[in-house]
């Protein structure tokens, strides 16, 4: 991570954001698979490159962001405002939430979508050191046979999946690494 005085996060935003989004697209269509983001991206202290890349390619004035306590620093807020023009809000109103696992709980506080519009739900970007392909068995769309992912709390994700088509979608990010678990992913033994 760079503590950066550089004004610009990206050299050619339209190109780099296209690559960032493609990674996010690949991640959400292959749940649990871990991706490595290799690019130059200047993010402020405390914000991982992978989380920064997601915010840059997805957020703007239409997407209020919730920052958990650890991430609610001047430096991060200024960086997000400057690059995305997003507003900051509470858990209940946000489209994207960024934070450490414990700080983002409970899931019930976020928008889960409605029966008619299940897409109107929040996406959580969890700063998570232990991204790895062991632990809980995962099934479902995007996964050939099955895969494993080291979820922080199996039960909570199982419960989120049981709400389908409502529910939250998740990105796990740490430094250059990230992975996604959308609401459609089934958790645990078949």
């Amino acid at each position: 991570m760079n503590s950066s005085n550089n004004l610009y996060a990206l050299e050619n935003p339209e190109i780099e954001n296209a690559f960032f989004f493609r990674q996010a697209l690949n991640a959400i269509s292959t749940p649990g698979k871990i991706f490595d983001l290799s690019c130059n991206l200047n993010t402020p202290n405390g914000l991982s490159k992978s989380a920064g890349s997601l915010l840059l390619c997805l957020c703007d004035f239409d997407t209020p962001i919730f920052l958990s306590e650890t991430f609610n620093t001047d430096e991060i807020r200024k960086w997000i405002t400057f690059h995305t023009n997003s507003n900051f809000t509470e858990k209940g109103n946000c489209k994207f939430a960024l934070g450490n696992w414990e700080e983002l709980l409970p899931f019930e506080k976020y928008q889960l979508g409605t029966d008619a519009y299940p897409d109107r739900s929040a996406t959580l970007i969890i700063n998570y050191e232990k991204i790895s392909n062991n632990g809980t068995k995962l099934f479902g769309p995007g996964i050939k046979n099955y895969t494993y992912f080291n979820l922080p709390d199996e039960k909570k994700f199982k419960n989120n999946n049981s709400l389908f088509p409502l529910g939250l979608d998740f990105f796990f990010s740490y430094e250059n690494k990230f992975a996604a678990i959308p609401r459609s992913t089934r958790i645990g033994e078949k």
């Binding site: 697209l25 269509s29 997805l58 703007d60 029966d115 897409d119 769309p141 088509p165 979608d169 609401r183």
Partner: protein
Amino acid sequence: MLKSQKNKYTKEDPLEHDEYNFAYLDEQTKRMIRRAILKAIAIPGYQVPFSSREMPMPYGWGTGGVQVTASCLCPTDTLKVIDQGADDTTNAVSIRKFFEKTANINTTDDTNSASIIQTRHRIPEEPLKEGQILIYQVPIPEPLRFLEPRETETRIMHALEEYGLMHVKLYEDITKHGHISTAYAYPIKVEERYVMDPSPIPKFDNPKLHNNEALQLFGAGREQRIYAIPPYTKVISLDFEDYPFEPMKAEAICSICGSNSSYLDEIIINDKGDKSYICSDTNYCEKRK
């Protein structure tokens, strides 16, 4: 000098151009579409509303597919565009040229070497692989629209998983014709939840939707909807126990390559109305010749 003649946008330096933003759309539009695509993948088969833009081509020419393609494209992509299986028809050629000009990407006819394939009304014969993206142009995304014209009602029907009407429609097919006569845009159910319109592909292609290795995205420009089938997703074509779903094709072989397994187009070859059949997938046919 005209601006169009002063094209600094060369393959060597894809970033040095001043005519269009990369892939035509502005960045804010792309972000809005990108968010819709991610939600569409998270809820397979559900139609996500998006604020479709006016494109420099008429509705019905693939404006939805073009917007989805523009939002997914990277400079390293190789794009293939087909219209009813053919690479060389007007719609396919003009969309391919559109992206050559606005995104300066490589294009191909070869199904196997394309990373993104935009399609109108066909799935290529050659099996798709992991990492490829198939983007469909969709005219009417709502499978229930011809049965229930009100959006407010169809939305409730999807919310309640109330799909009895669709089965009634298929049943009426049987009572009128003795079999399910729906031959294209045949309704499917994705992951046992949403009934979805696979766009007007022939029902011959329906089995390829199931468990496909590629990501399938659907864009409807005029109707402002995006939906998706992630890779390795369960897709069934609706049917009845006693009238099971049957893919259908002309009982003939291709008169160019001799294929007896590919989907065929019928062509009239003389004034007497004699017919001949050729592969609808031109790239597949070309490779077999």
